[in-house]
Symmetry: C2
Subunit: 267 residues, 2 copies
């Protein structure tokens, strides 16, 4: 698997305790080729700094959050999503990850309609700017806080309404591994997989939002999932996104070494 | 909705800090007609005590747990499930709830095959004893600890291999409310719904296994779900199953009053 190390992208939320400059430096020192920045960490010259370090941005995390209680607020979200597209373009990241939710009032069907409307409004702007949109299905346990799109089938139902070069799906092992439809939906996803994220599911899971494990430390059959993602024709960067505050306890160089090992052995 | 109070069944895990005798007494004093005992709380004369208090057992929780690392262990599980059928029959409960998992080693396809084999082995014995089997899809966040059956579609795929009078599904609002397939699968479930469980999804959810809310305290659209369950033809007892250790902080009579109010207003 070591030949795949050139596909490893470091998703910045994995080291959320650091600023972008520190993460860029650590990625370059670790020999990684890719980085996936988060919007809340961006600085005005982020793109230049990433390129100067010899890195490329695999995606920008994240746009979306379309549903809102009022039309005025939804227009604000639309404007913010166009700003996210601009930021992705400035990073030379050709992918904006969309987190689609939550429902402001528990009305899932209404929120799901608003997600579709939000993507319809954003897609032409993104296409003009050379940024693809990746709909990420989040784990159903995040439906209250994050996303009303919770299965790959649902993400594909949305994506397939658009041009295959413009709107696709982000497959995150942590979010989709439980799904009995996984095999069938990944087959269906051929040509629409715009990103693949890895981490692992710990048993027990002690935190709904931030309890992820390093690849190999949990129970996800990552080799099986990787084979399905490969078969869907995805050959781009693979983002390591291990959301867990305990990552801050390791010196960054050690964290990067763990990621490299874990990625090579278990992804 | 108050006309439905005669359908309220108190699922014992809601007061897991009490023994069965205390729960029977509290249910009778609260005027409930139904109780759903758990196996770990059973006493030899449980059936007589439930009947003497004027109650009926809506189900026994729970059998299942079919997957195991060795054939010998799977045979032990089979024997334990036959014992659960005997216990349900002794309670005059016509339903045994099946929790189908977890995977002993993360191999979901293998564990799912073992679930089918386990139900195949158990179904004839249960039918002979007048006990129906209810396959409960648990929320995908419980896949590591509890169940590899995580969607209603999957539970129905299993149930439909058997006689509609013998094997069906348990619909638990907490476990299925997130599912984009909910409407379609509940339509498909007509005649196969053997039980309906209610509680609510709190935001934020602070505990994966024991963080449930009282009906009306969370974000589940329970009236919508209830209409779908009604349309599937289910008209039996509705179990209140609010797994949350904070329930132990209330005196039992107050807890029962809260449940009665919450059930009448929000279920």
């Amino acid at each position: 698997m070591s030949a795949d190390l050139d596909r490893l992208s470091f998703n910045q939320i994995t080291a959320d305790h650091l600023d972008l400059g520190q993460v860029i430096e650590a990625c370059a020192e670790a020999g990684f080729g890719w980085i996936a920045p988060w919007r809340h960490k961006l600085v005005p010259d982020a793109g230049e700094r990433i390129r100067a370090a010899g890195l490329r941005a695999s995606s920008l995390c994240r746009g979306g959050f379309f549903p809102a209680p009022s039309a005025a607020e939804r227009r604000e979200r639309d404007a913010d999503n166009r700003a996210a597209v601009d930021e992705a373009a400035a990073l030379a990241a050709d992918l904006l990850v969309l987190v689609c939710g939550p429902a402001p009032d528990g009305d899932l069907p209404a929120a799901r309609r608003q997600v579709l409307e939000g993507i319809e409004a954003l897609a032409p702007y993104a296409a003009e700017h050379g940024v693809r949109l990746g709909i990420e299905a989040l784990h159903p346990m995040m439906i209250g806080e994050r996303s009303v799109v919770v299965t790959l089938a649902q993400a594909l139902d949305l994506a397939e309404r658009f041009d295959a070069g413009e709107v696709g799906v982000v497959v995150d092992a942590y979010h989709v591994w439980w799904d009995p439809e996984l095999e069938r939906q990944l087959e269906r996803a051929a040509g629409r997989v715009f990103a693949y994220h890895v981490s692992d599911w710990l048993v027990p899971t002690t935190d709904v939002l931030a309890g992820r494990g390093m690849m190999g430390d949990g129970v996800i059959d990552l080799p099986r999932l990787r084979a399905l993602v490969d078969a869907a024709g995805y050959d781009g960067p693979i983002e390591v996104e291990v959301i867990n505050p305990s990552n801050a306890e390791l010196p960054i160089a050690e964290l990067m070494a763990r990621i490299r090992r874990s990625f090579a052995e278990s992804s």
